[in-house]
Symmetry: C2
Amino acid sequence: MTKSEIQVKGEQARRAATVLATATTSQKNGALAKMAAALRMRCNEIIAANKLDMDNGRRDGLKESLFDRLLLTAERIEGIAAAVEQIIALPDPVGTCISGQIRPNGLQVNKIRVPLGVVGIIYEARPNVTVDAAALCLKSGNAVILRGGKSAFHSNMKLVEVLSAAVAEAGLPAQSIQLVENTDRAVAADMMKANGLIDVLIPRGGAGLIQSVVQNATIPVIETGVGNCHVYIDASAEEKMAHNIAVNAKTQRPGVCNAMETLLVHENHAVKLLPAILQAMVDKGVEIRGCEKTCAVFPAAKQAVESDWGEEFLSLILAVKVVPSLDAAIEHIRTYTSLHTEAIVTQNVTAAERFLNEIDAAAVYVNASTRFTDGFEFGFGAEIGISTQKLHARGPMGLEALTSSKFIVRGNGQIRG
Amino acid sequence: MTKSEIQVKGEQARRAATVLATATTSQKNGALAKMAAALRMRCNEIIAANKLDMDNGRRDGLKESLFDRLLLTAERIEGIAAAVEQIIALPDPVGTCISGQIRPNGLQVNKIRVPLGVVGIIYEARPNVTVDAAALCLKSGNAVILRGGKSAFHSNMKLVEVLSAAVAEAGLPAQSIQLVENTDRAVAADMMKANGLIDVLIPRGGAGLIQSVVQNATIPVIETGVGNCHVYIDASAEEKMAHNIAVNAKTQRPGVCNAMETLLVHENHAVKLLPAILQAMVDKGVEIRGCEKTCAVFPAAKQAVESDWGEEFLSLILAVKVVPSLDAAIEHIRTYTSLHTEAIVTQNVTAAERFLNEIDAAAVYVNASTRFTDGFEFGFGAEIGISTQKLHARGPMGLEALTSSKFIVRGNGQIRG
């Protein structure tokens, strides 16, 4: 029987992972340097492959918003190469001793950080994810199997060809970085069920992709990304601060997961502060979908419907609700949260602490914009995604999230009595 | 539409989890003390319920080996209550600051340990798991939904009645501990797909149960327990140490996951040490299934077949193979490991370090019996299971494995530029 593409690449990845697991930091950094150099050197080849995707996209009527994500230019490739070089500077998590002790019977039990093994990434249009993910997995000692979107097929093929050749040139296995070449859904489904071959699957993309992976995978998954983020302006909030945070959280970059989608405002602020904030939003092109009280104080608002409270708009649309109390704000957030980022603006310490303790999300904020939830802003230097599940990693995931642990036990003949 | 049992109990558990997440250590310890007291006080009720299960088991032809696992006596209940009290003494992981920093913009970003939320446990005959799991989940601030085997139904119903009443008496939600009352497989399947209601599912039991959960769950799972553990006796091994470790790893308690299933021996030891070890095994009732060379030096051995190398016997059966080198031993283990526990006996430091680094398993040993891989022996004080996956937790899981983390971000008006 012929092996499937996933079976073949999974077995190759397993073998590569065995080598990567014991590669030194210098070897891995050497490979990253060669990867960055090759991206620059073979820039024209990459742009030519990308042009095929762009042309096909035009022919196939690809959505206009996706062209910008797909496009690779010399400048963008330089940025991607520079990002690979930044990963060289990050500390290597592999080999770190997490904890260690000598047991009463003399056994020395150390818990050390090891690579996960083989990481699968399923993602959509952006070809820069191909390079990011490959570099982060390599630095953390993992082999990676990438499955990108059909629309970026030629770009991804070329990028992986360039990267894996660079890795081989550095003396590490070329198959440390592989791309799934068959972009049929059935092959993605195979990948989700590759127990024993892939240790963890990370989907990066829209809610539909992520739900499909969560529903169909039998291998461990890290659920990422969907952010229905709230900002609650408490009765005691400082008005100017509240105004600035709300406008920043909504408008600074509305298309990302840590942007605000619903603004909750204590009723004490309904008459004065709220209309001023909403006017500033409208001036920046935001469409307001408000509760009844919001519409009463700000007639330009549309009436919100139930589905608005649960939606991740990822655009210049904002749901707004006036609430009578902190309790009501907490209750609303508990009902609609996607467990990503939730913020309170307040001067009251009890309100702040209650919000931090009682709201269950990957990141909870007092008096700052939700937009800070990402790997760079949290000081990880890079990010493979933002986990919204509670197992393994929660919130922005840096290199450590791509590792597991192993107990190393040293004895001198101990047996159990 | 009527809600399913899992929907109803899941929502109740979510509400209970919200209260438990902010309960103090004193409150949780108070509840554990009341649980232990109630188990002792209501011992006769529990024994009466257990008698129903034992009678039904006899009527239904339950396998003889399962009766001992099912039986509850006054002495065993005392042991179970004492185990609950031991959990009081363990440090509470919730609220621990895992890491903290102040970012250049003044944002204070702390990562703190929080409960997972709602934990689901699917397990088989032993009713002591009901109490163990309930106590560990409560101490770590999690609500638990337990789904035990049909054969222990009355015992589990009574135990959960006793425990949840004790929790309520201590002022925490009675629904912190719930049992699935419908033991149909369809309800277990519901539990595996309870996204949004159950944060993690931990199966405890045989390989069939665990595979069923891994294959069918859409919620995050921690795979536990199957142990096809190897001991490799290297050329340089000290003979007496090797003999003692091998016999201990196989015979001290053969029915558990950290017992040895395959012995690998360097060919230098084939003529003298190996027959002596195998004779000692046979004297303890072990059946030997050997490779050709093993059968040649120890004629009492049966010829091993391919499936013997991959099997977790959990009984007095041992597969034995003579290998020409450390490389061959590593290759054999890589092929057949269940990623649980693997050990080398050697006096050679290079061989020891190569084995520790190159073998990928939850626990790797030099010169000690595999039987030490458990939560008590590793100093965790208790254990909810042994993870053989790489995500979230690997190896014996104590209270920390029942927690997640949360980023707490404190600012004074920071917005993103």
